[in-house]
């Protein structure tokens, strides 16, 4: 009987799990956690780049969710609501770290000098080599400003649409589109820099080898 009940709980559809969680059913809380923990954790991990901190933030986001679940009435999608909470938790942590009271607008409109893409038309024509190295892309994403990172991960990694991102981040759809584009442009620059560094290292290694042979 207990096993049957367990199977039912793990197969509970999301809407039913939410309804039961609103009545305080512990198994329903677990089901909601199972359904969404990977996405929330992955978002937190990409935002802060540290597994221990990402786990803390995931826990905090779900805690806030479960404290408020009785107020959820389905005006927006549940996952959008949860992601909004998660992004707010992350931004609050980043705000605390930097010690500034930055608004979401500042986070989604980073200073172009420090983190935004440059339009360097004088640069040599470069196309990234055949495929993108996974490690390099991860490193480049880590270097993005928080606002770009959030939108890039939500859209290009997790597949959210711009209207959903606008809802999650409390910005306009146009803002979401333009920040995503700036994020990709900045990533391209960072990946080019990595390729240039790699080529330079190879040249230096070649020179060293050549000098050694002489």
């Amino acid at each position: 009987m207990a096993r049957a009940r367990r199977i039912q709980d793990t197969e509970l559809p999301e809407a039913e799990a939410i309804r039961r969680a609103q009545q305080g059913d512990a198994a329903a809380f677990e089901r909601i956690y199972q359904l969404h923990n990977r996405r929330v954790y992955s978002l937190c991990l990409r935002m802060v780049g540290n597994t221990a901190e990402a786990e803390d933030l995931t826990q905090e986001a779900f805690l806030q969710l479960f404290r408020k679940i009785s107020t959820f009435r389905g005006e927006s999608a549940f996952s959008t609501w949860l992601h909004r909470l998660a992004v707010n938790v992350v931004l609050m942590r980043l705000r605390k770290k930097t010690g500034t009271e930055s608004s979401l607008e500042e986070v989604t409109e980073p200073d172009e000098e420090s983190g935004g893409p440059r339009k360097d038309f004088g640069a040599p024509d470069l196309k990234l080599s055949g495929s993108i190295d996974r490690v390099n892309l991860k490193r480049a994403v880590d270097q993005l400003p928080a606002g770009y990172k959030a939108i890039f991960v939500l859209h290009d990694v997790q597949g959210y649409e711009h209207n959903e991102i606008a809802d999650i981040l409390g910005c306009s759809i146009g803002n979401s589109k333009s920040q995503l584009h700036k994020a990709r442009m900045r990533l391209r620059e960072l990946l080019h820099e990595t390729e240039r560094d790699k080529a330079r290292e190879e040249r230096q290694a070649f020179k060293r080898d050549a000098a050694g042979e002489d």
């Binding site: 905090e60 806030q64 404290r67 107020t71 707010n88 938790v89 609050m92 605390k96 009271e101 608004s103 979401l104 607008e105 989604t108 409109e109 409390g170 910005c171 306009s172 146009g174 803002n175």
Partner: protein, 297 residues
């Protein structure tokens, strides 16, 4: 977990003896400035970051302040023995609640006044049916529900949601996302620096007199009251204003819009266009009220 508590029926104690008589004279002299209540509660709790404070009170003046200590201080006063005020900690959550002890109770006896001081990053869920609610400088998410109580907020930084049936709402210098719903309350949003405002009242008036941030979205909607928006020559927004059976009065020199999102019926008074570069989005809707878009004095 540290907790200090002082509670007592201070007035009845004071009334005993000559010393009490002296104090009474002081109270009578200065009573209007600093009222003394029969029942007083003061509790302080140590909390971690982002504590949740839930508050439930039928009637009274509620003041929420913030400080930079990881502590929550609850001070409550009331006169009636028919209610009891209480504050309890469960993990990182503080529940503050007024209990009704008697079945028969008159409106004055329901009244309890609170001053609650919380860390800036606290999250608040406040329910106060009547009286007034003042909230200042909270950076965490805050929700306030009232029936008749007015809500006065300043310097709020988080996601701020207010639902009031008939209370008024005033929000000054707030920078977080603001959402307010009312049926008959007047809503005033002044000197705010928010990128997202949604304000809806049915018969109340709405005043928006703050910054229009680039990419900000400002949606004001009512049924029959006035919607009054102030702007300066430096602001930049796309505006869409429709009053179905009322009127729209505009002082902003607008350039025509590139597209319509929802085309209103022909008989409605409508206005669409961009002011400067149209960087923010302003949506104003009324059923039969007057919408005014006026230059700031």
């Amino acid at each position: 977990m540290m907790m200090r508590q002082t509670t007592g029926r201070t007035l009845s104690a004071l009334m005993m003896g000559w010393r009490a008589a002296g104090n009474m004279a002081v109270i009578l002299l200065f009573g209007a400035a600093s009222p003394v209540y029969a029942h007083h509660l003061q509790k302080q709790f140590d909390v971690q970051s982002h504590p949740l404070i839930t508050f439930h009170n039928p009637s009274g003046k509620v003041t929420i302040l913030s400080w930079n200590k990881p502590q929550v201080l609850v001070v409550a006063d009331h006169d009636s023995p028919k209610i009891e005020v209480d504050a309890e900690q469960m993990g990182n959550r503080i529940d503050v609640l007024t209990h009704q002890l008697a079945d028969q109770i008159n409106p004055d006896e329901l009244r309890a006044n609170y001053t609650i001081t919380v860390p800036e990053d606290a999250e608040l869920q406040i329910h106060n049916d009547s009286g007034e609610v003042t909230v200042t400088k909270i950076l965490g998410d805050t929700s306030v529900e009232t029936v008749a109580a007015g809500v006065d907020a300043q310097d709020m930084g988080g996601y701020f949601v207010v639902q009031t049936v008939g209370g008024s709402f005033e929000c000054a210098r707030c920078s977080g996302r603001i959402e307010v719903h009312s049926i008959s309350g007047n809503l005033q949003l002044v000197d705010d620096h928010s990128s997202s405002i949604f304000a809806q009242t049915s018969t109340g008036d709405i005043l928006l007199d703050g910054d229009f941030l680039p990419n900000g979205v400002y949606r004001l909607k009512n049924y029959s009251g006035a919607i009054d928006v102030k702007f300066s020559h430096r602001d930049s927004f796309d505006v869409s204003a429709t009053s179905l059976y009322g009127k729209v009065d505009n002082q902003a020199k607008l350039t025509p819009p590139s597209h319509f999102s929802t085309r209103p019926p022909k008989y409605a008074r409508s206005l669409f266009g961009s002011f400067n570069q149209g960087r923010a989005k302003l949506e104003l809707t009324s059923f039969n009220g007057t919408i005014s878009i006026h230059k700031r004095d």
